[in-house]
Subunit: 206 residues, 2 copies
């Protein structure tokens, strides 16, 4: 199909499709003349994925390019690939100085309380530190019992995620990277809705 | 204290503090002359809260203003106030047309599966629809068993949140609105870290 049909199929303006081509998020079509190219179903699928990542997931074009690059070329170390994917996801965090012997004290204490294995270089440790520090600065620190309560529920979710991970390495990376990014907005919306359900059942606030 | 001391205390440039004053996020100090004002600990606390909301929570200045406005002036309907707060949080969603009899079919089906009470006008319903549609468009739809797995864990988290809600109405709004926004980055970081813990214990990916 021509670029106009591709854009219509994906529900995007032609200019946006051209932008993604220029930015390297969308792979080129097959050239049919000096000024035209032909696109197929793989381009439609890719545009849907780009829309999902830059829409509800809230990634910038640069962040989406990083995530898509990891899915396209995952390398052979799933652990390292997931690490790079997580550091491309919000919130952005500054790298710790090598000189600081304990750059993430709140995250370290939390993970020790939870008894969880972790690599301190994994971006999510710095992200947890930032999130805990923000809650603390806003006067609503995460108490020990809240940490343990949240940690237990999220560990259940993570175990569920890992149990369903495909065996084939390329599929495993796609599942892990995209499942981290795409399912987060689902999880947050479900929590907000669960608040409403719990409140309604207790007849609070109405 | 003068504005320079306030800025230093909050770890922000003076220009940023002036910007928040102009934008109405920070309440004015007490005027001490035609060009100077005096600030106190309430201003330091407020700046920390603004930093938390615009930093790790990722809100725009406009979204942070909405959230802070609801905390400052919650009205007497906690339910309506929380509804307004949730619609100020990402992801931004379009209002459904009044003509559409079933604007959120995926969210409706999911909430029916979960057996949850919900108000279809609550912004989180549209947010869930958008998130489910994005996962589907990206070729990774949320299966029924994943929905039930996630839903159970998030219901536990929501029940935990509600159990600890303060009784006094103003404190309850602050807890509910800020706890929704501030604890979400903590929850996402904990899930990412729980993946690592589960994977390490299974000796996967290393």
């Amino acid at each position: 199909m021509r670029i106009s049909a591709l854009a219509a199929e994906a529900g995007l303006p032609v200019a946006t499709v051209k932008f993604y081509l220029r930015e390297g998020l969308l792979h080129p079509g097959v050239a049919t003349s000096a000024t035209q190219a032909s696109y197929d179903a793989s381009h439609v699928r890719r545009l849907r994925l780009i829309r999902a990542l830059t829409g509800p997931v809230g990634l910038s074009v640069g962040q989406a390019r990083t995530i898509l690059g990891l899915v396209d070329d995952p390398g052979d170390d799933l652990y390292a690939t997931l690490g790079r994917a997580v550091s491309a996801l919000p919130p952005a965090v500054d790298a710790a100085s090598d000189d600081d012997p304990d750059p993430y004290p709140r995250a370290r204490a939390a993970l020790e309380s939870l008894g969880q294995v972790y690599d301190p270089r994994f971006a999510a440790v710095a992200q947890l530190e930032t999130a805990l520090a923000a809650a603390e600065a806003a006067g609503m620190p995460i108490s020990e019992d809240r940490l343990l309560g949240y940690g237990r529920s999220l560990h259940d979710i993570a175990a569920f995620d890992l149990e369903r991970m495909p065996q084939e390495p390329h599929a495993a990376v796609e599942y892990t990277v995209l499942g981290t990014a795409l399912y987060e907005p689902v999880l947050l919306a479900l929590r907000r809705l669960a608040h409403q359900d719990v409140a309604a059942r207790r007849d609070l606030g109405r």
